[in-house]
Symmetry: C2
Subunit: 399 residues, 2 copies
């Protein structure tokens, strides 16, 4: 059988329970897994130069098809030599299909709902869904735009990331079994069409991930897992709603992973808290992505070890708080990032209070470095067979 992905490989090097460490190779480099993929939504990880990302230990970033197709347009990026060259990032790069944003923004902030947040105050932008694809309103000019499996893959080919995603439909967590059944089967058809379109132009520069849907219904998740297992996608992503409470998410991810072909890299879409990463690595997840580490940074929230937290229910401290006005410590004593090397909490607090953008940059840089360092310690623990201990150290505040 012809190797569809001659320039890609995935090798599991160490296993510790279901947790695994491995290496993904792609045309723009090597990714040690478990790895975190940072979000450069509009072809920029907000506030970070590419060399700052690299220096903070970043292996791979992603950009969003939805945003880039509207501004500056896939054709422009292709003309400028592709996304890597355009954004000055020479490392591994992933693009999503555009589906998540269309459906999450489409239902009026369902992204918040899918991710279990309360906001539902945004205007729906989704016009219609058919078996062919979706029509939605552009947030740039209000005009009608459409996305089909074929168009998503075509756009992603023009963008030229190493890893691309098949188009799927994302449903909110309150969706009924009946709709989820219809939707999951539509996702499978769209994924099959995405794959066909991918094959037509496959020149070895890209690889494609299939996506497991099925909402909160174990039976549908299982069917979806088997569908993706049966299609020669390079990797497998777990998408859609994972329920309304963490326990449900862990159950859905755990049971889904147990059904998946273990020879392929497994990505969990949109999950990025520290506790969630640890639990899902334990279930067998290889890669994660989420806007959260960089987004919370722009609200003053900086990751710290459990022993440095000021609220045991939060994984960060918020530097906006007055208590940091005279705090000479770095965000996290012992952290090797540029922010912690040069800036005190007091200075960052001052920058926030003064509306200085350096605050956002500095905290973003710290959060990126912090998560990369977490992933590195996870890999080390798996390789040494002590992942359980690492997880407990975080859980019981021994770090």
């Amino acid at each position: 059988m012809k190797n569809l992905y001659p320039n890609f490989s995935f090798l599991v090097t160490h296993q510790d329970g279901n947790a695994r460490a491995g290496i993904i190779k792609c045309p723009h480099g090597t990714i040690k897994t478990p790895a975190f993929i940072f979000c450069g939504t509009k072809a920029s990880v907000k506030g970070m130069f590419p060399d700052q990302l690299s220096n903070a230990g970043t292996q791979i970033i992603l950009s969003n098809t939805y945003h880039l197709m509207l501004q500056p347009g896939a054709e422009t990026i292709k003309k400028m030599g592709g996304l890597h060259k355009f954004m000055g990032w020479d490392g591994p790069l992933l693009t999503d299909s555009g589906g998540f944003q269309i459906f999450s923004l489409g239902h009026g902030s369902v992204s918040d709902e899918i991710k279990r947040r309360g906001r539902t105050d945004r205007k729906p932008t989704l016009v219609s869904i058919t078996d062919d694809g979706a029509v939605f309103k552009s947030y740039i000019d209000g005009g009608d735009e459409y996305l089909t499996p074929e168009k998503s893959v075509e756009i992603q080919r023009k963008l030229g990331a190493d890893f691309i995603l098949a188009l799927d439909e994302c449903t909110p967590y309150h969706t009924s079994y009946e709709y989820t059944l219809i939707s999951t089967s539509r996702s499978h058809r769209w994924e099959a069409k995405s794959f066909e379109e991918f094959l037509k132009h496959n020149d070895g520069a890209q690889s494609i991930y299939g996506i497991v849907q099925g909402g909160v219904y174990p039976e549908l998740r299982k069917q979806s897992a088997h569908f993706v297992n049966g299609s020669p996608f390079f990797g497998i992503a777990i998408g859609g709603t994972l329920g309304s409470v963490k326990r449900q998410m862990y159950d859905i991810v755990g049971s889904t992973v147990s059904e998946l072909d273990k020879s392929r890299p497994i990505h969990l879409l949109g999950i990025g808290g520290i506790g969630d990463i640890l639990t899902n690595v334990e279930a067998g997840i290889d890669t994660f992505d989420c806007v959260s580490p960089t987004r919370i940074a722009r609200h003053g929230a900086a990751f710290v070890y459990p022993s440095s937290r000021d609220n045991k229910d939060r994984e960060h401290i918020n530097l906006k708080r007055f208590q940091y006005k005279h705090d000479e410590d770095p965000i996290q004593p012992g952290c090797a990032c540029c922010t912690c090397k040069h800036f005190s909490r007091a200075y960052l607090h001052h920058l926030i209070k003064s509306n200085e953008m350096l605050a956002l940059q500095a905290i973003t840089l710290h959060n990126v470095a912090f998560i990369n360092s977490l992933m590195s310690s996870i890999r080390d623990a798996i390789c040494s067979g002590v992942f359980d201990k690492l997880k407990d150290d975080w859980k019981y505040g021994r770090i």
Copy 2:
């Protein structure tokens, strides 16, 4: 006579006409002159990490007493180890007296008027001026604040910059001869008081600049120059309004410099265009400061050589413009800065259109590097006795 500034020195190493190259030494390093001082208004050059400033060739930055006294307060910065440590900048540092902002904002955006811009729509915040000092409204909480020569120097001592400025009164350019006469003589009294206060606590860590006032009146400028010459300030700054047209500025600066003690470094306050720098270096200015290179960057304006300009009356191109959407060139071909090494004009245009803050950071970084490179080429030209040629090359677009 006792050396008031044992840790400071200024040496003119080369002279080319009135233009001169030299070296200022201070506790935090060495500054090759002519040099540009970038504005870190609120203890941050907007969008730039200290190491990015250094890597872009920055020798010295300044912060504003007016802003820092209100937020976070001089006492906080002192408690945090002084401004150098607070902002993570270990190089030479200057603070101003606070006077410029009090009077410029005080009269309702007179900063714009002093600098010959049209805006006068801001609310005046100055409450009163007496011979002791000024009372003004805080922009943080609306409360009354006061500044006297003694308080300005005390605050600047707490901040701990290498170079501090005596307090003066700044008048707008339409001010009458009569008022300017009164104001200049008040400035001299305030400067004398500033100097006395400085002497009381002089421990060798700081040096103080006197300021030449006198508005647009040659006779008053001359008197003011003689006043500052006669006081043992380490350096001399030329402040206040320099008229309403460039020719008038050049005349005022030229005639003022000709009156000044040439053994001291001469600073021109608030001037930062490329043409203005070249002309004023020719008149004998050693150092400049201005928000302009970093401020225009945040509006999409990037410095280029005359040969790369798209509008002969402007020293920059504006990357907001649609014409750059598909422009694969860096801002300035041949520029060695990080922005030009990695990003095209098309990418920067996209970042601006997408409201990505990386746009502001990247263009700021370019403008800082560009001005530092300009200053370096000016020093080289003076040292080689070819400053005239350099100035003409810029003027006639041969660069």
